[in-house]
Symmetry: C2
Subunit: 341 residues, 2 copies
C-alpha cells in the first residue's frame, strides 16, 4: 500500500470539526501533499485549503481523493457516491479511513476496475502477514505509548519525526491507525489485523534498516487498557523499541469508554511497558513524557511538567505547547551510544 | 455455535498419530460423545472406537461428522469431499478444525443448504464480538497459562474440569482453540479474532455466572511469547481469572518456533501473568504448576515436582502422571473464601 500524493481532501457534507479531524490531521502534518479540499453544500469545517472541483484538482496534479471524514458508524453516505465515481473517472485513486469499505460499493469497485484506479481502505489490512519472530533487527525504533487510547500518540510520533528530520536525523513515521496511514500514505491498521498476526504485521511495518535510522512508531491504547491491551502488547513486541515516550492527559477523568476506571499511575504504566518491551529488546526504556495539557492554564501546565520531570528524572513535554526537543536530545544520545557499540 | 453430539470422527487417510491428535483428544475427553470413527483406505491411526460407515453412524444417532485431523497447510483433501457430501445427505452436520473452511467448498456449501445442515469451521469465529469492558463479572474463573505455546494448557484445563466435576463443583471448560472447541462443542478460536475484539470475545465466552460456578478457561501461548503475547494478554484480561495454573515443559530446549530463545524463567513468567491479570481482577494469582514431564523418568519427574513446590510454596503436578487434585484443593479454598466475602 502506497497512497499516491498529492491529495484532494473530500469532506462530504459533515457539519462539525471533529468529523473532519482526519483531513485536518493530513493537512496539518503533510501540507505539501494537500492541494485542496472538496466540500459539498452544507459542509461547515474548513481546512484552510483552496476549495476545488475534481477537474481543478486533477488539472493541478492530484493523484488521490481522500475521504477525510469520520462519522458515527463509519459509513459512506449514498449521496457521496457520485463524487467518488467522478474522481475515479477523472483519474484519481480513492483512499478512505471509514469502516465501510470503498470496495463494498459495487459501482465504485467497477469504476475503479474500469479506469485502472486503486481503492485504499486504510482501516482494513490489504495483505497477509507472517507470524512474528521477535528477532532483533538493525536500526533504531521509538514507540509512542500511553496511559490510555486517544491520548496523543500519533501527534507525538509525528512531532518527534518532524523534529528529528529537522535535525538531519534519519526518521520514518510508521503509522498503525487510519489517520496515521492517510498522513504517511502507508502503514497497517493494527487493530483490524487478526490477533495471531499483529506482532508480525508490526515487524513488517518497521523492518531492518540502517544502524542510524529511526522508525518513529505510532502506538495504540495501553498495555494496561482492559479492552485493547492485546493490540498494544503485540505492537510493543513487534516494534522492539529502543525508546518509548509515555503519552498522557493529566485531566482525563477515566479511561476512554470505561467510566469508573481511572487512568493508571504513571510509574505503574512505565513499569508495565518497559517489562513488556524488554521481551524483544532488553535495552527498551521510557525516555520521557508527552502530556496533552490543553485543559490546563499555562502556569498549571508548566508546573505539572516540571513536577513530573523532578519525580521521574526525565523530560516531560507537551508537544503542542513546548515541542519535543528534550525528547529528541535523548534519542540522539541513544543513537550515539548505539553507533559506538 | 453449539455442535450437536454424538459425533462420528472422520480421520480421512492420514498416516500418523499426530495428524489424528484432534480426534484423539475428542475421544479421550468426551468418550460419551463419540460413537465411532470413519477411516478411509490407508488410514493408520486408530482411536479405539468402532469403525463405522456414515449409514451405520446415522442409524445409531450420530448428529455431526467431525473432521478430526490436522495436516500441513490445514486443507481438505479433494477426495474427502464425497464423504463430506454423503454425511450431509445422510442428515449429519459437519465440523472441522482445519484452516480451510468447509464453506469454501461450493459443493459442500450447497449440500448443507439443500439438506438444512450446519457447517462448523471452528478455527474461524462465526459471530462478531463487542469491545471488552473489563467490568468484573460474578462467578469464578481459572485460566491455564504457560511458559510457551503447546505446553499442556488445554489438557490441564480439561483435567481440572474433570476433577472439579467429580467433586461436585460447578465447572465449565471454556475452549479457545480448535481442538478445545471440538471437545466442548462450542468456544472461540481467539487467535483468529480481529485483535481489537479478542478480550471482548473472551468476556463473551465466560460470562457472568453463579457465585460458585467456575469457568475453566483454556489458555493460549504466553504473555512472554514474542509472536503471540497479544493474544494471551487479551485472553488474560478478558477471562479476569481468580486463579491461574502455570503450564510448563521442563525439557523443552527453546520456545516453540523460536530456536535460540529459551523458555522464560518460571518466577518471571508468574510475575508477568499476575501483573497482567490484576488489570481486570486484583485477586488474580498463580496457584500452582502443571508440568509435562513425559520426557523424564519417574524419579526425575518426582524430584523436579518436589523441588518446584519447595521453591515456590505451591503445588506442582503433572496432570498425566499425578493428576491435578492439589490444584483443585486450592480452587476449593478460593471458592470458600469468595462465598463468605
Amino acid at each position: 500500500m502506497q497512497i499516491a500524493a498529492p491529495y484532494l481532501l473530500f469532506l462530504g457534507d459533515v457539519t462539525d470539526d471533529l468529523a473532519a479531524k482526519t483531513a485536518a490531521g493530513i493537512a496539518y502534518w503533510r501540507p505539501g501533499n494537500c492541494l485542496g479540499q472538496l466540500r459539498l453544500p452544507g459542509c461547515t469545517p474548513d481546512l484552510g485549503l483552496p476549495d476545488m472541483t475534481i477537474a481543478q484538482a486533477v488539472a493541478r496534479g492530484a493523484r488521490t481523493m481522500v475521504v477525510g471524514v469520520a462519522n458515527r458508524g463509519g459509513t459512506i453516505a449514498p449521496h457521496w457516491e457520485p463524487v467518488l465515481l467522478e474522481a475515479l473517472a477523472a483519474g484519481m485513486d480513492l483512499a478512505s479511513g471509514l469502516h465501510q469499505r470503498l470496495t463494498s460499493l459495487p459501482a465504485v469497485r467497477d469504476a475503479a476496475a474500469k479506469h485502472g484506479r486503486h481503492l485504499f481502505d486504510v482501516r482494513h489490512p490489504d495483505r497477509d502477514f507472517a507470524i512474528a519472530t521477535g528477532a532483533k533487527r538493525a536500526g533504531l525504533r521509538v514507540l509512542a505509548v500511553g496511559t490510555d487510547c486517544s491520548i496523543g500518540k500519533m501527534y507525538t510520533a509525528l512531532a518527534l519525526e518532524r523534529e528529528m528530520t529537522a535535525r538531519g536525523m534519519k526518521a520514518s513515521f510508521r503509522a498503525t491507525g487510519q489517520t496515521g496511514i492517510l498522513i504517511a500514505g502507508t502503514g497497517v491498521s493494527v487493530d483490524a489485523v487478526v490477533s495471531d498476526f499483529v506482532a508480525g504485521a508490526v515487524e513488517w511495518l518497521c523492518p531492518e534498516n540502517e544502524a542510524d535510522h529511526w522508525d518513529v512508531v505510532e502506538g495504540q491504547a495501553s498495555v494496561l487498557h482492559p479492552s485493547y491491551a492485546g493490540v498494544t502488547l503485540a505492537l510493543v513486541h513487534g516494534s522492539q523499541p529502543d525508546a518509548m515516550v509515555m503519552c498522557h492527559e493529566p485531566s482525563r477523568p477515566h479511561m476512554r469508554g470505561l467510566p469508573g476506571r481511572p487512568l493508571p499511575d504513571l510509574a505503574d504504566c512505565i513499569a508495565a511497558h518497559e517489562a513488556a518491551a524488554r521481551v524483544t529488546n532488553p535495552r527498551a526504556k521510557v525516555i520521557g513524557f508527552a502530556f496533552n495539557t490543553s485543559a490546563l492554564s499555562d502556569d498549571a501546565a508548566t508546573r505539572l511538567l516540571l513536577e513530573t520531570e523532578e519525580r521521574f528524572g526525565m523530560p516531560a513535554v507537551d508537544p503542542v505547547r513546548t515541542g519535543v526537543e528534550p525528547l529528541v536530545d535523548i534519542l540522539e544520545e541513544i543513537e550515539a551510544d548505539a553507533l559506538v557499540r
